[in-house]
Symmetry: C2
DNA sequence: GAGGACTTGATACTGGGTCTCATTGTGTGC
DNA sequence: GCACACAATGAGACCCAGTATCAAGTCCTC
């Protein structure tokens, strides 16, 4: 999985440096969403010696390539989720942080309707869904 | 319009103090979205002498009452929009910042579909639409 | 290998937002 | 009306995420 990230970066013409490999591994071993602060804490715990700036820079790079996406949690914090580069939306489990991706599930009809009613031309949208994953739902 | 805000606050059992009236007036005279920084700048320009903290506190209060909502702009910044307390979504004009509200326009079908596919129970969602309002569209 | 461009870490900085606390102002009960 | 309890205030310190800068180090190509 960290291989996937690295391969994609390589294809994008980005250098595969030591710090980048290590951060990619950190991302790979997290499942679900994570914040930049999580990665920074992980890196410190493992004494990787990578700087904060490097982590933010890599996240930017990954976001540019669509390998990671920023989502806004319901509490207003920012998180990142590793994902496929195609357009899609995220389901975030509010209990455990697990992420599922859903592709086109009728949102175009919604934007078209909103556009018709308001007279706006819609250029982009952001949809985030929050709830409980199957595991967390059965856990209580 | 600032009267509306004040009336709603009054009904919610919060005190109608001088600073709150002044900030409500600032919000009322902005149309479309604004950031906390905008309000702070307005307050400084008019020498209102209200503190930053007071402005943030009032925004929190208004958000709690559903009179104002936080939206995340495409560039990642936070903005607030004055709005009705009912559930709805926002259309944000990326050119001039104008806001339109749209109520239920089929999003429930989307969340139901996403839930069916993923097995998640969906508790809440956030949908933001970005585009150009009729004025800005015809302006170029 | 050598070399130049890209990348890095340290550090300072910025901007949004929160916390604290002594002081002030509000609304209620009388 | 008035006094009083308590909510609200402003100032300023503080915190945190993210950015900018820059000298030093690393990678990849040739």
């Amino acid at each position: 999985m960290s291989d996937e990230l690295l391969r994609a970066l390589d294809q994008a013409g980005v250098r595969l440096t030591g710090p980048r490999r290590e951060i990619a591994a950190l991302i790979a071993r997290r499942n679900g969403h994570f914040t930049a602060a999580d990665l920074i804490a992980d890196a410190n715990k493992r004494r990787l010696g990578v700087g904060r700036a490097t982590i933010f820079r890599l996240l930017d790079l990954l976001a540019e390539q669509g390998l990671v996406e920023r989502v806004d949690l319901p509490d207003g914090r920012h998180a990142y989720v590793p994902c496929e580069p195609s357009h899609h939306h995220h389901l975030v489990c509010v209990a455990c942080g697990a992420i599922a991706e859903v592709e086109d599930c009728g949102i175009d009809a919604v934007t078209a309707e909103a556009s018709r009613r308001s007279g706006f031309t819609i250029e982009s949208h952001r949809l985030e869904l929050f709830g409980r994953c199957p595991n967390c739902r059965s856990a209580n």
